[in-house]
């Protein structure tokens, strides 16, 4: 298994190089003028343009600029953001824990509530609880996240005063509402996924056998059904943690959490290529690592799966 993990980690390299190059090329292809963007509605003085162009190699062709970037990356240097003057590694170090907090809350929330609701609905197929879960998850899925975020901010934050309206000033509580909003859509998917999976597995031969052997219903569902039903859920959850990080763009903006999504939005807005590439690299690494963890989890849930 060690070799398998090592191989998977090595495979990350081409993925990271490929994606960063792609983002780099796309930012270049946007064709805007990053120096002018920094200046907003003011004209850029000639000497400033010259200085910035030299500093960021804006005159050089794409492969050379990418070369500079890679060379820096190898030395652990993500470069300097175009807006302001901060090293991107510093920006990532600041932003990453913020996103991790709301993504963590979202993850725990969607896993516990989502799986519980899904399993219960699956066990009572066609009953009231099942219909309730189906209907409520459908509603959540149908509402765009920015509506959900803004409505909950106004009602739970401004009107009811239960949660802080925005920001990070109040510690754990500050991250709670954005975390719940962020996790809500995934929660709905997980509940539906778990429900379908449980309902299907309940009709399997092995369940009938287990029943015939006289196993207790709680053991049947708790050990046998659940374990098999969780494989699609775990697959989804793994990919979802990556989505949560990037998908936080909307939530972080509404709740003013200076995380990865917040920075991505800013970078896109002013066409800050270096920062954009830096944060996307981070997301790529998260995705690849999560995919690896999911693959390793399969073996735990289903011992028949083995790694060479």
């Amino acid at each position: 298994m060690g070799r398998y993990v090592a191989r998977r980690l090595l495979q990350m390299l081409p993925v990271i190089i490929g994606t960063t190059f792609l983002v780099f090329a796309l930012v270049t292809a946007m064709g805007g003028d990053p120096v002018q963007n920094l200046y907003g509605e003011r004209p850029v003085p000639e000497s400033i343009r010259v200085a910035l162009t030299a500093q960021y190699h804006l005159d050089d062709p794409l492969p050379i600029r990418y070369g500079y970037y890679l060379a820096g990356l190898v030395q652990g240097d993500f470069g300097t953001s175009l807006s302001g003057s901060r090293p991107i590694s510093e920006m990532i170090a600041d932003a990453w824990p913020e996103t991790l907090r709301i993504a963590g809350i979202a993850f725990v929330f969607e896993t516990i509530i989502g799986v519980a609701a899904g399993v219960m609905a699956g066990m009572r197929r066609g009953k009231f609880l099942d219909n309730l879960v189906l209907l409520s998850t459908l509603t959540v899925i149908a509402i765009p996240i920015f509506v959900l975020g803004q409505v909950s901010q106004i009602f739970l934050g401004v009107k009811a005063g239960i949660f802080p309206v925005s920001g990070t000033n109040e510690g754990f509580v500050s991250y709670l509402l954005p975390g719940l909003v962020l996790g809500s859509v995934s929660l709905a998917y997980i509940a539906r996924l778990a429900r379908a999976s449980v309902a299907e597995n309940l009709r399997m031969d092995y369940v009938r056998t287990a029943k015939a052997k006289g196993l207790s219903p709680s053991r049947i569902t708790g050990i046998h059904v659940l374990r098999n039903s969780l494989i699609p859920v775990v697959t989804y959850l793994g990919a979802d943690l990556g989505t949560l990080m990037g998908g936080a763009i909307v939530t972080e903006r509404i709740f003013n959490i200076p995380g990865v999504g917040y920075n991505l939005f800013k970078a896109i807005q002013i066409e800050d290529g270096p920062a954009l590439v830096g944060f996307v690299t981070l997301l790529v690494i998260v995705y690849v690592v999560m995919a690896l963890i999911v693959d390793l989890l399969y073996a735990v849930l289903d011992p028949r799966i083995r790694y060479a």
């Binding site: 509605e41 030299a54 309206v165 963890i293 989890l297």
Partner: protein
């Protein structure tokens, strides 16, 4: 079994990350306005916190607390001495600036050298300071900012600047320095009120990176801790402040917001004390939600639509006037902007000395019948079709569409709004004469003077004259005004120059801006100045 152990680890790691995340948040709730003697307000994340490199609103607002400018402005927007003891010039060319006694926040005295050093840093091209061009009027600027020999597209790098210091700056003694301008300029005193003319302590220049995280100034407030990027900048009152009114609060927390709507919601919940700009989306409900805490004041912004001079279609001034006359400015302001701006019928803003109402005259008066007649006289417009360009990221779609609808109705023209993703792109297209059609523009004043509107926007080769308007007589009057002995004489010349604009109509004046802001129940005496900044020293706890 080895597998399940790993799962356990993964879950523990995930939970630990969340848990430690929750715990290590910035738990103190100070600065909420409720406790202590401080208040909070929203700002955008500053780009830099170096005076010579800060021209955007967030950074300027923070620096306005940390620094005191050489001159401030009174209720009539006339310059009054602040950090300067005297600013004098016999010929409007060589200016002698004497400083008041003051100390940096670290206790060291502020000297003339601190000004000269900071300005030299700002003027040096390779430092790429945002405020670089403000030093362009001082002697020796060109040597520090050589032009790329073969244009910006060429392969050759610009030449190394010949000088590292402005020859026009001279330290006389500890408290006095001399500024020599390239040409006489009567209104130079007003210019010195701008952010880029703040000083910096000598130590800052050797390590700007560290300095920027916690700038040391000579203003009413000093840093309280470091700049917490994307989150907040906290400042507290500076006890030994002598350059002006002491602040009436102990501290200010500048909270960094990316979205004005979020800041507004925080204000509604009374968590944030001042919001410096009420978002347009809530402009309709804000007055009732905030009551007498909803405030407006004059601002210096000027919105207009420009004609591309390279386009033959619009070369007849009668066509330009007709289009202007067919626009009902007041209706658009009422419907689209909920009266958060006021209509413009002059080429300079009411906030500057020398402003006269309705200098645009007939051409800015809404008169659809006369407009139609005038357009017919001029032989109509080529193809009976016009378009107005705007940047899609600036929220201009709505008023441009409304303008187009009026032109359709009143002139029978086919008018379309043409969105370009970013303003920068629009400007590049216009500069390269690739954009056909009219386009929107805006201007925010740098210093209160008619000249700051007329010069950059309409003089030949003016820094923001993207539409290439050029009139020798106008240029001459503008220059005469700059070189006039007194401010009053200058204004006479500049007003004459403005009258030429009314005849030529290179642009259509549309709207003057207002500060539309609000505050919580925790504070009172909240005022905003012409530079769209909250006057920090005036705010009081209620």
């Amino acid at each position: 079994m080895r597998g399940s152990k790993m799962v356990g680890c993964a879950i523990v790691v995930a939970l630990a990350a969340t848990a430690c995340g929750g715990g290590s948040g910035d738990g103190d709730s100070e600065g909420k306005g409720k406790s202590g003697g401080g208040f909070s307000m929203n700002v955008a994340e500053p780009k830099r916190l170096i005076p010579q490199s800060t021209t955007e609103s967030g950074g300027s607002q923070v620096l306005s607390g940390l620094f005191t400018p050489l001159v401030d402005f009174d209720a009539k927007n006339e310059p009054v001495l602040a950090a300067a003891e005297s600013i004098e010039s016999p010929d409007n060319k060589v200016w002698t600036i004497k400083l008041k006694d003051a100390t940096w926040h670290d206790g060291k005295p502020v000297t003339a050298k601190d000004y000269v050093g900071a300005w030299n840093w700002g003027a040096y091209g390779p430092n790429a300071a945002d405020g670089n061009y403000f030093f362009g009027t001082i002697q020796g600027y060109d040597e520090m900012n050589p032009v790329d020999p073969d244009g910006e597209e060429g392969p050759k790098k610009a030449a190394e600047p010949k000088a590292k210091e402005l020859s026009g700056l001279k330290v006389i003694d500890d408290k006095t320095f001399e500024v020599t301008l390239k040409a006489p300029f009567a209104g130079y005193k007003s210019v010195l009120g701008y952010t880029v003319f703040y000083p910096m302590p000598e130590a800052a220049l050797s390590d700007l990176k560290t300095y920027e995280e916690a700038p040391i100034g000579q203003g009413p407030f000093q840093m309280d801790g470091k700049w917490n990027h994307d989150k907040f900048v906290k400042v507290k009152a500076y006890k030994d402040y002598k350059l002006g009114d002491k602040p009436k609060v102990d501290s200010v927390e500048f909270r960094i917001f990316q979205d004005q709507n979020t800041a507004y919601n925080d204000l509604l919940a009374n968590n944030l004390d001042i919001v410096d700009q009420i978002p347009t989306e809530v402009m309709g409900t804000a007055p009732s939600e905030l009551g007498d805490r909803f405030k407006t004041s004059q601002a210096s912004t000027f919105q207009f639509v420009a004609f591309p001079t390279y386009d033959k279609k619009y070369s007849d001034p009668r066509v330009r006037k007709a289009i202007s006359m067919a626009i009902d400015r007041d209706e658009i302001i009422k419907v689209v902007f909920q009266d958060s701006q006021s209509s413009a019928r002059s080429f300079v803003s009411p906030v500057v000395g020398g402003y006269r109402e309705d200098t645009c005259g007939e051409a800015c008066k809404f008169d659809p019948a006369a407009a139609k007649k005038l357009l017919a006289e001029a032989g109509g417009i080529d193809g009976n079709k016009i378009n107005i360009g705007h940047n899609a990221d600036g929220g201009h779609e709505q008023w441009i569409n409304a303008t187009c609808d009026q032109l359709k109705k009143n002139l029978g023209l086919d008018c379309v709004s043409q969105a370009v993703p970013k303003f920068a792109e629009l400007l590049t297209q216009v500069e390269n004469k690739k954009f056909s059609g009219m386009f929107r523009m805006g201007w925010i004043m740098d210093y209160p003077s008619m000249e700051n509107y007329l010069g950059p926007l309409y003089s030949t080769g003016g820094s923001s004259n993207y539409y290439g308007y050029s009139n020798k007589e106008f240029d001459k009057l503008l220059q005469d005004g700059r070189e006039a002995k007194t401010e009053e004489e200058a204004i006479v010349k500049w007003q004459a120059a403005e009258d030429i604009l009314a005849k030529d109509m290179p642009v259509i004046p549309l709207r003057f801006g207002k500060n539309v802001f609000g505050h919580s129940t925790n504070v009172k005496n909240v005022e905003m100045n012409l530079f769209n900044q909250v006057e920090l020293t005036k705010v009081e706890k209620s």
